[in-house]
């Protein structure tokens, strides 16, 4: 039998239903691949192979009995941000390094209810704060892709670096991920995979370790656009346990894949043409515009005038919410408690200082500062007003276009241990320059692999849709995917 791990989610589900192979065989193939690759890639921080075998056995029973559900027998990887009942969940932070949730996140429960199989928990930046997966308590993830000019290990991006690396290296059929400022789309672009963040409120945040609650949204990283539609269908749901969960009915996402985009108006925002962006990124964008034109779309020049303020706005709003959300880690009811203190305040301070990593502490302090007396209006309220301006830019743009096309990232994957980015936090934050606007506005955004740069590294394009219009976003993504014919895979050096 050919290598089952190379299958897409769709073709694996078809093969399982056609009884070409069993879920147990498929699961064992992934277990073998993970055992071989994980020492080099560090994509999984915890494997749950016994559980996977048990779940696969149950799926095989159902497949045999003709009771297969939407994802029956499909082995998936789960970002360590999603609480999994009885399975250690750390958000890759030292402060949660032994936390075993007594409950299941709604997103993962939806996947298990549809018959999916859990292979393990995937690495990420600590509390999803990072763009290179280097802030993880469990060490960085390595990108399966390598530059043809150097053998140096590259970042898979972040914060969903483990999810992206695992999907690109065929260590799961698909993975869950989450996106607060670009944490699904940037890693997808860096690894030649597809990543979609749905409209804010589509997927429940219940049981997802919180970073910045008004921005956090779950979504999948997959091998194809069609797979993204399948995963989205299962992950999204209305959930009474999340007060910002949307009650709107879900469309059949897969029905948009392959749909004609003839006559669709595609907006190209002037403000996304940035100085200092590599020519290859611009050229890819032009190529994407041409592909959509060839498919019958109408290209419209649009303006999103407040784009340049999105990142500074984000770096007030997100740390402010993070400082508030992370106040719960006090060493009392769960999480790390210091051994080195006896008084209450000392216990708080030392537990948190020992448990949190440097980037998380930095963001908590920025958040505390912008929320503190005397600075609240100047920073926090100001940022919330700018946020509305950014959201209004999109509302205005939708008068002249139906969907927006931009680059996904300002560069291809960079080296792990990049000293320039490590020394200057702002340099690292700039990774999210094209993705962060959709989080602030709550819109769906998708990264699709579109080509390789001169060093042989993947580059992605981003499609931004109207609120609740993941369908059109997927349709445009599928057209780009087909036109690009992106079939490149990293060579297996591990």
């Amino acid at each position: 039998m050919s290598d089952l791990t190379k299958l897409t989610l769709k073709s694996a589900l078809d093969g399982l239903k056609a009884k070409q192979f069993s879920s147990t065989e498929l699961t064992e193939a992934f277990i073998g691949a993970i055992e071989k690759a994980n020492p080099a890639l560090n994509a999984y921080v915890l494997t749950t192979f016994d559980k996977a075998r048990e779940m696969a056995g149950e799926s095989d029973r159902r497949l045999k009995a003709g009771e297969a559900r939407a994802l029956e027998g499909a082995p998936l990887g789960i970002k360590d941000l999603f609480c999994t009942k009885g399975v250690r969940t750390t958000a890759c932070s030292g402060i949660l390094d032994t936390f075993v949730p007594p409950y299941e996140s709604t997103v993962t429960q939806n996947l298990w209810d549809d018959g999916a199989v859990m292979l393990g928990k995937l690495n990420m930046d600590e509390f999803a704060m990072g763009s290179s997966n280097e802030t993880s308590h469990w060490g960085p993830v390595t990108n399966p892709w390598k530059s043809n000019a150097s053998n140096a290990p590259l970042t898979p991006g972040g914060s969903s670096g483990g999810s992206a690396s695992a999907v690109a290296a065929d260590l799961c059929l698909a993975a869950t991920a989450s996106d607060t400022g670009g944490s699904i789309r940037q890693p997808a672009a860096f690894t030649g995979t597809v990543g979609i963040k749905p409209t804010y409120g589509r997927a429940s945040r219940y049981g997802m370790v919180a970073f910045a609650s008004s921005l956090d949204q779950a979504g999948p990283i997959t091998k194809t656009v069609e797979d993204a539609a399948i995963m989205l269908q299962s992950m999204c749901s209305h959930d009474a346990k999340d007060s910002t969960s949307l009650p709107n009915a879900l469309p059949d996402f897969s029905s948009f894949v392959g749909k004609s985009i003839k006559g669709l108006r595609v907006g190209i925002p002037d403000e996304y043409r940035l100085d200092g962006i590599p020519g290859e990124i611009d050229a890819l964008w032009e190529q994407g515009i041409q592909w959509l034109k060839d498919a019958g779309a109408e290209i419209v020049r649009i303006s999103l005038p407040n784009t340049k303020y999105a990142l500074p706005c984000y770096y007030i709003v997100a740390p402010a919410e993070a400082s508030s959300n992370l106040a719960r880690y006090d060493g009392m009811r769960f999480g790390h408690r210091t051994e080195a203190a006896s008084s209450l305040t000392d216990t708080y301070e030392l537990s948190r200082s020992e448990g949190f990593g440097a980037e998380v502490k930095r963001r908590i302090m920025i958040g505390t500062y912008v929320l503190s007396a005397g600075f609240y209006d100047a920073y926090y309220v100001k940022a919330l007003k700018v946020r509305r301006r950014i959201a209004e830019d999109f509302v205005n743009a939708w008068n002249s276009c139906d969907v927006i096309l931009t680059p996904a990232t300002p560069s291809a994957a960079f080296q792990l241990g990049d000293t320039e980015k490590a020394a200057d936090p702002v340099q690292m934050y700039l990774n999210d320059v094209f993705t962060v606007t959709t989080n602030l506005a709550g819109l769906p955004g998708m990264a699709v692999p579109a080509g390789l740069d001169s060093k042989g590294l993947p580059l992605g394009l981003q499609v931004i849709g109207k609120a609740l219009d993941e369908g059109t976003t997927l349709a445009v993504g599928a057209v780009l995917e087909k036109a690009a014919g992106f079939t490149h895979k990293p060579s297996q050096w591990w």
Partner: protein, 95 residues
């Protein structure tokens, strides 16, 4: 506005974080870099703009005020650093 080490120490204390003096100094530099970059928001005219606190236009949903879950003492304390007979053990709060 530049942040000095004393301000960083105060912010660390408000954040319930303890940092060495050495770290406070490097943090002051980093925070100044980040806040300096954020200053560009002052270019945006936001007069007459309402702060945006949520991107979901919906009224807060209400549920019936009934007990739907509970009786899970063992689950609740299962991750506690220290517990005894279903209680959390914490440092002395009142001296």
């Amino acid at each position: 506005m530049a942040i000095d080490v004393a301000t960083v120490r105060k912010v660390a204390s408000l954040s319930r974080l303890r940092e060495s003096d050495e770290r406070l100094e490097s943090l002051a530099g980093q925070l100044n870099g980040i806040l300096g970059w954020i200053e560009q928001l002052n270019e945006v005219d936001v007069s007459d703009v309402q702060p945006m606190t949520s991107c979901v236009e919906m009224t807060q949903p209400l549920r019936d005020d009934v007990v739907t879950d509970g009786g899970k003492v063992a689950d609740v304390v299962s991750n506690a650093p220290k517990s005894l007979d279903g209680f959390f053990i914490v440092p002395k709060v009142v001296e």
